[in-house]
């Protein structure tokens, strides 16, 4: 009989527990819920941790869902079961903003927090590459202009020397993130499209057929020269170390931490350094954002405090702890502008030029 009563108490206890707990938590949440980009994650988490430490209250929960996944959760509605803040390694899209509006998330505060450089690095054992965006486009696009004509052909280039006689005669082999990654999107937009635009006749297509232009400039070749190496940037660094002939695509903070193993290629003569990304002379860098649901400010405790911590000089300033973690800070005037936006909780108007 003991066994029997044990079963029943255990089972009913567990069920009761689940029933009560899900009720009590759905009603109120005393910690901030943050979702979004895996690129902003390392920075948002530092701020969350410092904020939790200094106030003694609950530390915000930060989930790494990717920029798109974060927007989906963020725009799902108003109410404590939905996220309060989403991070993004690109600006909010027009379609996402409209979805937010449709689901009742009317007031969204946009904050630009800094920049992230994308590097094309190889092992220290081999010479540093000196590339242009045009070289990168010709080496990695699926279709490239045939030599001396205005026609597209499947990418015929096998070695870097084929692309540009000044480059070494090594096989084109680039390890990079898969299409689900924000880093990949940004790499295609900044590096490939940057090189693509160098061809005047392709640039002219943009005016007539935008999607065709995007297809030409953003599609990466699939014949084995570009190898999808997963979302883990540490893994790419390790693989580069094992294969000195390959190049890898990843975020600047990983280069910063592994300077003994890899070095970043010069792009248009500029190497990826903290200074060159901050003054924008390094061409492949992208903006980092976060978005705040204004309706939750005052409902979920601590959002104002978290925002104030994020836009304080000791965090996002030129010598702040985010810079220490590898984020490239904004210039002074932009920091002042977005800092004011945050303090006044100025919502987006919907008239911004979103894509």
């Amino acid at each position: 009989m003991i066994t029997k009563s044990n079963f029943f108490t255990a089972a009913s206890l567990a069920l009761a527990l689940v029933a009560t707990s899900s009720h009590s938590v759905a009603a109120a949440r005393d910690y901030i819920s943050i979702v979004g980009s895996s690129t902003v994650y390392p920075f948002a988490t530092v701020v969350a941790e410092r904020f939790g430490r200094s106030t003694g209250g609950a530390t915000p929960k930060v989930e790494s869902t990717g920029s798109g996944g974060g927007m989906k959760l963020f725009c799902a509605g108003v109410g404590t079961q939905h996220a309060d803040i989403t991070n993004a390694s690109r600006r909010i899209k027009k379609s996402e903003f409209e979805k937010c509006q449709a689901n009742g998330v009317k007031d969204v505060v946009e904050v630009l927090i800094g920049f992230d450089g994308i590097v094309l690095a190889n092992s220290n054992k081999t010479k540093r590459m000196n590339l242009t965006r045009k070289d990168i486009f010709l080496a990695l696009a699926k279709e490239v202009p045939a030599k001396g004509s205005e026609k597209l052909v499947p990418n015929p280039y096998k070695t870097w020397q084929d692309v540009n006689p000044a480059l070494p005669a090594t096989k084109i082999e680039v390890l990079g993130p898969p299409p689900t990654s924000g880093t990949r999107d940004a790499f295609a937009e900044l590096a490939l499209e940057g090189g693509c635009k160098a061809f005047g006749w392709i640039k002219a297509i943009k005016k007539q057929d935008k999607s065709e232009y995007k297809r030409i400039c953003h599609t990466i070749r699939e014949d084995g020269a570009y190898i999808e190496a997963g979302e883990n940037d540490n893994l790419i660094v390790q693989k580069l170390n094992a294969n000195p002939k390959a190049l890898g695509v990843f975020g600047f903070s990983f280069l910063d931490q592994n300077s003994d193993k890899v070095h970043g290629s010069l792009i248009e003569g500029v190497g990826p350094t903290f200074e060159s990304i901050a003054d924008k002379s390094y061409p492949v860098s992208r903006p980092l954002y976060f978005y705040v649901k204004k309706a939750h400010v005052g409902v979920v405790p601590g959002i104002e405090g978290y925002l104030a911590e994020f836009v304080s000089e000791k965090a996002w300033g030129t010598e702040g702890y985010l810079a220490e973690k590898g984020m490239i800070p904004l210039p002074d005037d932009s920091r002042a502008e977005f800092g004011d936006n945050v303090k006044g909780l100025k919502a987006m108007t919907g008239t911004e030029a979103l894509h």
């Binding site: 255990a10 089972a11 567990a14 759905a26 941790e49 430490r53 989930e63 300077s259």
Partner: protein
Amino acid sequence: MTSHSSDDNKKTASSNTALIEKSLARRYRAEKRFQLYGLMAIAFGLLCVAVLFIDIIGKGHGAFRQTYIELEITYDSDVLGLSDVTDAQQIRLADFPALVKQALRSRHGDVTGRKGKRELNALVSSSAAYELQDRLAANPGLLGSTEKLWLPADDDIDTYFKSLRKSGGAFVGRTSERQQAWLQALQESDEIRLQFNWNFFTSGDSREPEQAGIGGAAMGSLLTLILTFLLSFPVGVAAAVYLEEFAPKNRWTDFIEVNINNLAAVPSIIFGLLGLAILINFFNVPRSIPVIGGLVLTLMTLPTIIISSRAAIKSVPPSIREAAIGIGASPMQVVLQHVLPLAMPGMLTGAIIGMAQALGETAPLLMIGMVAFIVDIPGGFTDPATVLPVQIFLWADSPERAFVEKTSAAIMVLLAFLISMNTVAAVLRKRLERRW
């Protein structure tokens, strides 16, 4: 006739013997080869395990020790900006980092310029200030006094200091030449050393590698597993008892059996998707808490528990049941008083193996928001939590160099848990299982 036949027999017998003798050596060789193949398979398996362990332990053992720097701290109320030491609010706002900076400056007095000061302050972890805060809050009498303390070093310093002992040469990384010179001086005067890293076991996650620990994730795993066990064991056992002892054998029970076996082979991410679609989106269970994790893992472990419980019940011999019925026990009494107690060791073994499986699972938790950065150690079933394998996943993806050894160390801890759970299962089976 008889003699002829016996002669014949002898002849075939001797030719048989010759035949056997001829083939004997070959058959022995085949036997040996056969055994050798098995041995090779085991050796290969052991080699893989050994390589894995050597790699993980080689990378991870460093994380159990942490670099500490000795500093002479003066609790100066002017530096702290503190007038009343018993006021909790004032303690919280007091400038403890300034105490550390002052101590560093008085140790290495020759530093000028902004950059130099930054480099000097970067020697000691930002957690040192919190440590001082806790000390003063616990012991207000310290104000105005001076004491020597071992404070944790920053992760860049920690990585550099540990790499000094390795054969491959020091990893300079993000340390500057000036910092290396300071460390050299500290080393000569024995003011820097490696200590056992208790912090790694007691604290929650952090973005500063020297402050990060697995305490929060281990607690999250424990809470999630308690819930998983409380939900899945009674339900699993009840289902197994009914199916084995009471259910009629017909097409419906066959259908159910096929489905249970099927569920055991479904990829675990599917259970995560189910949790997202039904529990979170429909029943509004909050994300990222042990309750949702426990529910999803329950779905995942139920088939394992049902299957192993049925096997355990089946192994109880029918004679026990018949004897009980013979002296007048009802079917319920037979099950509760005789079959279940005898089958319990087998059922528990199955449950422990199911729990070990659930402990190592990340994929379904990805969908329900348990892959998250959570600093506070969860205190209950409704606090946001993460689990050990997720912590490993998150650290493996972090840019800071010092997280590499943390990742391997966390894997070692997880492996230790898994090994001990499986050992308990094996011991239980050996000790309690009756042979009939």
